[in-house]
Amino acid sequence: MGLLRSLVNDEVDGEQETEIPQENGLQDQHDQPGRLAIINGQLHMEEPKGRGAWPVLVPGPRVKLYDGEQLVTKPIVVENIEGLSITVDQEPPASAYEVIVSRDKMEVLLKTSFRTGRAFRLCDADFEQRLVLKAEPAADLPAKPIDPKLVLAHLKKEGIQTDLIHPEAIIEACLGRQDTEVVIARGVAPVPPVDGRIEIVCSLQTRFSSEAQGDRVDFLDRGSFNAVNAGDVLACLHHPVPGTPGKDVYGKVVPPPAARSPRLVAGSGVKLVKNGTMAVAEVTGRPILRRGVLQVNPQLVIGQNVDLSTGNVEFRGDVAVLGDVQESLTVKAGGSVDVRGSVFHADIVAEEDVIISDKLIGGSVVAGTDQPGLTKAVRLLKLLDRELEQLLAAFRQLKAHPRLSVADLSVRGDGYLIKLILEARFSHIPKKFAVLDALLAGEAQSSEEELLTVINGVRAAAKRFLGAAPLEFKRIEEVAREKIHLRAYGAELEQALDSAADIYVYYCQNAKLEATGNITITGPLAYDCEVVAGDTLRVAGNCRSGFYAATTAILAKTVGATGMGKTELCVGDKGVIGADKFCPGVRLRIGSVQTVIEQECLTTLFYVQDGKLHSREFRQGGAVC
């Protein structure tokens, strides 16, 4: 510790050092404590007088007190200030930077920090016996800029690619004296690839909703089921486009991510073409994408009754109804219809076979074509061919008759006599032509161009026999020509009919059935129905009341019933009608030959030979199904 010195006394005028003795611990009035002061940053001391207390010096915050070389950390009693030195801790400015390389090595960040410093000085203080040394801020010390060269050198040392460095960003960050974080080098990112993808061209909706028609709400119309035709494109595969490699800040190549390469997977009913890049429907049906596999289901399964909850069903493929088809509903299929239950006063239209496992009560079933009128038209044309032949024969016979003068025909044309005959004897010919025209008018709207030509040809010919048009025939040969044309048209229409479709039903009552092929009623009864079979009608049980027509044959167990309504069976001119039992009153027509069963006939097969009705034993029996 330094010795006490009376430095203060030298500076304080008029004050005299006086020693005041102290007794018994009491301070004498001459005793004065020693004191310390900081004046203009310098330490000054007044020595104590008498028994006055010696001054104490306490180092405060930021102030360091040295006694010689030794740092004083606790209050000390100062005997003199020689050897004491005082320093004040300063707060210097700071400038720093940090270079950070991103985890993916694609960016280099420069993080700068600038801290302003502060200069401190020793606080002046008046004389006190106990003096605490304090420091006070004297001035701010601005931070120094960072030398960009330091950063560049750092980057070089790190191995950062020079061409990827942004020097201007470094300069701005270093000289800006503001804390910042800036990208000073950036790698070249790889260009990502374009993933391969599967474009579904068709709709995968189960059903399309119908558009509302004004205020009308059709509760039976729940929209049509989605379907595609065979050959329709379902999906296309677009190959991936590879990406371009990049490089990181060290110049190392960064490969692009691998592109996704989906694969078209064809399930049943779907074929891949064009090296597997295009999926095409092999069958008509409903397109389904299940677990990445594209398939076309040719069968629509309605797992319940067709009723108000399902609405009408229309599907281009096959339809299977596991329940019944309820009143007023329609099931329309581009393929077959298989009803596992019954059909009640509903309409079934199928381009292929129709199977009704239980009853058909009321309603209608059409199998074989969506142009049912064509079947009737073909049948009418065949009938008309024969009847026009009869007309021609009658005309020629008349013209050759010695008692008929034909002089007027040379003036009026043959058409006058033709019209007379048509009105008087063959009035059914114009009527049939009128029906034919109406039938084909309905078909014309939905027919292909080729078929339309035929239909229009038939209709034009038909119109020549309607109303007063027959008067326009100049010569009978024109009728003969029309007959030839109509026969040819009929053959073309017949070809246009779809391949024969059959109907199988267990029981039918008060219903209309029409098939281009066979109709088979497998159960006990067909009652009061209107049935038209393009080929053969087979009834395993009884056939009572109604109209039953077939081209080739009608074969039944029992036909007609006593006391029941009229039962009429009709086949083509080369057809046969056979049954185990014909009841009296049953009307039969084979070609143009008609008869009414007057007495019960058993196991009889009727046919026409040389224009006359014949019969023989019907051996096939009722077990025809």
Partner: protein, 100 residues
């Protein structure tokens, strides 16, 4: 040449025709019918047994009378025992239309 003999017996009239009923002679028949008041006639019978020739115009004329009388709830009948003329009527279907 057509001879038309009208046997008046209103409301049932019988007209006997002889000769040829054709485009050239039909006018004679028409005059005879015109002289009759069809409104008062219930039935008109044409006797054709004396006809030797007929043509489609003549037949059309007969059918025309049938239509005219049918509209007044009257009827036209044809009497004929001439097989050849009957054959012509049959081939054309005249009797069928008169029955309708």
């Amino acid at each position: 040449m057509l001879r038309v003999k009208v046997i008046k017996g209103v409301p049932e009239v019988v007209i006997a025709l002889e000769g040829s009923l054709d485009m050239g002679t039909g006018e004679a028949l028409q005059r005879a019918v015109d002289e009759l008041n069809l409104n008062r006639i219930h039935s008109l019978t044409f006797s054709l047994s004396g006809l030797e020739i007929i043509d489609s115009t003549g037949i059309g004329q007969l059918i025309g009378y049938h239509r005219a009388l049918s509209q007044r709830n009257g009827r036209v009948y044809l009497e004929n025992d001439n097989a050849e003329i009957e054959e012509i009527l049959g081939l054309i279907g005249v009797r069928e239309i008169l029955r309708s």
